[in-house]
Assembly symmetry: C2
């Protein structure tokens, strides 16, 4: 038997975008509303001393039959190479986990105000972590050309 684990949202995303779109995420100001039945209000004590947080969330709208376990063209675009699902960041992935670093603009009780969270309204949030410089890459990053092209209009 395969091992499995249960995760429960600690909160949900509140924002104006209700459908998955590929680009222009910086136009959104998003909030995370923490669920105080799952986490205490002082779970965010000291968080505002960090400029950025990483949000781990779940692409809950992705249906099982859409999950890719092999390779595909990112966004279905044949100008880019067919690469494995672990070599891209698309949502149709095993376990449907998203992880995004965003700017923390405000912390107000159970409410976090963010810029640059690429998750739609209602998305279940599984974790929030502070971005520490010590956890960013410690050596130079290289990436393929398609990874630069795919991000060209992503934030804006």
């Amino acid at each position: 038997m395969r091992d499995s684990y249960t995760v429960e949202p600690i909160g949900h995303v509140l924002c104006s975008r209700s459908e998955a779109e590929d680009d222009d995420w910086d136009n959104e100001t998003s909030e995370i509303i923490l669920d105080l039945t799952r986490i205490d209000e002082d779970a965010t004590a000291g968080l505002k001393d960090f400029s950025h947080i990483e949000v781990i969330y779940l692409f809950d709208k992705v249906r099982d039959e859409k999950i890719v376990s092999g390779a595909r063209h990112p966004r279905g675009n044949k100008d880019w190479p067919s690469v494995g699902i672990l070599a891209q960041r698309g949502k149709n992935r095993p376990n449907r986990l998203g992880a995004t670093i965003c700017e923390l603009q405000q912390v107000e009780g159970k409410r976090l105000v963010l810029k640059g969270l690429d998750a739609i309204d209602g998305t279940p949030v599984l974790d929030v972590k502070p971005v520490m410089s010590g956890f960013l890459p410690r050596s130079e990053i290289t990436e393929p050309q398609w990874a630069i092209e795919i991000m060209s209009g992503y934030w804006n």
Copy 2:
């Protein structure tokens, strides 16, 4: 009723460290062995074009009663302020998720060889994502002094 989701490991960590320790993680060379009943071998196609990956994993050794849902001193060290569990990256957290950026040294079939993965032997891996420059912070990072101090011997 609260919503919950099931996640299943796509692989496991193989490394020489079998107990959680706080420091010196760069001394470890770790591997992820993918589970080919959960994911296809071509899931890693093209991954080697990235120098770094982010690994999402589960601190499966943390028992429920150890999970912190409020605030505490990081590592129990009173020299550092008591801050919320969402303002630190310790393992005793709701949903027990870890997320670490590490260097990808080799991809060989179902085997990924890594440097800088701070997870012990046997840790369930839930996701692997390529590190794209477009997903790193796009504005200057600030963090409190304790977050710099706590990382001083972490990698080495």
